[in-house]
Amino acid sequence: MKKYLGGGVTLAVLLVAVLAPWLAPHDPLRADLVQSLRPPGTPGHWLGTDQLGRDVLARVLHGARLALFIGGCTVLLTAVVGGLLGLVAGFVERWPSAALMRIADVQLSFPFILLAMTINAIVGLGLRNIILSLSAAGWVVYARVVRGEVLSVKQREYVHAAAALGVGRVRLLFRHVLPNVAPSIVVVASLQFSQFVVAEAAISFLGFGVQPPTPAWGSMLSESRDFLYVAWWLAAFPGAALALTALGVNLLGDWLRDRLDPKLRV
């Protein structure tokens, strides 16, 4: 159930994101003031138009592209950076590791969304900076989880055996330890993905992150607030797309955790 529903929804969103330019009936940025604020069901504009007459369907479809791109880049960046730091911190128990974990504690003593938003407001807005801000706030979880796993894996007999056979430290870490902590990294990544997508939308909604007129779900929702009395569809569709994406990815993540690492709590 989780597998098929989660996998199906995630695959559908992925396909929409890739095929958006061909699926979208209009250019998501082209304004047409004559056609502004048309309700859903208008011929040519199935989901209606916004205040500038831009096609809502086209913008929602292109929004998927942006959401998955930001989520994907952030997950990749945090998994590589956080994973590597956690790997080294677990393997080399000297003071840099302790210092790193203290930094992680400090970061975790602050709500994620607030941290990402503060970093974003300070480093600046735009697509690249929102990815960097989310990554700067999000790497901690990987570092924590991976370090914990490494601390236990490195005591296993096969690691001692490999070390006794004269395998070098770097090779030991990447060939013998890493493959055994990789499932946790995959599970954390899948559980973090929707958090990043929703956080990006929330941050863009608050006026940071991705700026209009780029068709991001968060900034579309932000613009829709001024028209809530006259045009419910401007808020309904981007939000529904966001919720559906989060639902699919969450279910897939749950399924992966049940399969790969049932004990893990993130």
């Binding site: 400090v106 003593s109 938003m117 407001a121 608050l206 929702l221 808020a235 966001l242 709590r265």
Partner: protein, 305 residues
């Protein structure tokens, strides 16, 4: 016990100090705070005067020392926008956030814990399936979208509730439901799995075998043992509620700490940002300390050190 609390308080102070240093560093590295705040067409002479007055011309180390010394006294300087003490501004907004947050927390626990327990006790019943569906949907629905849709339904269409602001009890209804929704979903799921874990234990079987009523088996033997993971998550979530409040307060124009922080960040009013960061990290670490102290009370096997 006293030593434990003392050492945790020292740790708290360290965490707060480090987060202030980090934010101070980021603010200064990101550019000239005066230029960022001033209008584009300002004269160079005026900029320099303003900078001199606020002490931005001094070496960075001097500025940092002055900032930390001030912060230790709760003095974060004047708001660049409101021309009044930053910490006072932040403290004025705190009660509104605490009211919203505690209402949401109570709402979460009142709904989520019974739902989770019932789902676990009546596993695979209709209630369990409906509950599971609700929690999965609740976790996937972004709070700010739920908020907008509720405003559309209850304020625009039905005209039952005000769209925003603070005042009567009616103003509190939508913000606290939106803030509670996501957390309630998580806590209900965790309660269900924690109770299921405990129900499989031998002491539950023993309790049943000696003829205890189902109410006592669940209420006393199961719930108390299932409480540890629930309290852990509730504590972590109580901290995240502060983050959620940022969004909820903005949607419903709730005059709290979160909305003030967003506005201060948008206006680049950094003294207020720093004062808010200070207060939020203090609150957050104190919540976590409370949670750790609760463990010892819930489960005497837990020894704090």
């Amino acid at each position: 016990m006293r030593a434990y609390i003392a050492s945790r308080l020292v740790q708290t102070a360290l965490v707060v100090f480090l987060s202030l240093t980090a934010v101070f560093g980021m603010v200064r590295l990101s550019g000239d705070p005066v230029l960022l705040f001033m209008p584009m067409d300002i004269q160079a002479k005026d900029v320099n005067e303003f900078r001199e007055r606020l002490g931005f011309n001094d070496p960075l180390a001097v500025q940092y020392a002055r900032f930390i010394a001030g912060a230790a006294h709760g003095d974060f300087g004047e708001s660049l926008r409101y021309r009044s003490d930053a910490m006072t501004l932040v403290l004025e907004r705190l009660p509104a956030t605490l009211l919203l947050g505690s209402t949401a927390l109570v709402l979460t626990l009142v709904i989520a814990v019974p739902l989770g327990v019932l789902s676990a006790v009546r596993r695979d019943s209709l209630l369990d399936h409906v509950g599971t569906l609700a929690t999965v949907l609740g976790q996937a629905t972004p709070g700010f979208w739920l908020g907008l849709m509720m405003i559309y339904l209850f304020s625009v269409q039905l005209r039952w509730l005000p769209t925003g602001g603070r005042g009567s009890l009616a103003h509190l209804v939508m913000p606290s439901i939106v803030l509670a929704a996501f957390f309630a979903a998580r806590i209900a799921r965790l309660t269900r799995s924690a109770v299921l874990d405990v129900l499989g234990e031998e002491y539950v079987l023993t309790a049943r075998a000696k003829g205890l009523g189902e109410g006592r088996v669940i209420g006393k033997h199961t719930l108390r043992n299932a409480a540890i993971p629930i309290v852990t998550l509730a504590g972590l979530e109580a901290g995240q509620l502060l983050g959620g409040a940022v969004i909820t307060e903005t949607i419903f124009a709730w005059p709290g700490l979160g909305r003030l922080t967003v506005q201060a960040l948008l206006n680049r009013d950094f003294p207020v940002v720093l004062a808010a960061v200070f207060l939020i990290s203090v609150l957050y670490t104190l919540i976590n300390l409370t949670v750790d102290l609760l463990y010892g009370w819930l489960d005497p096997r837990v020894r704090l050190q």
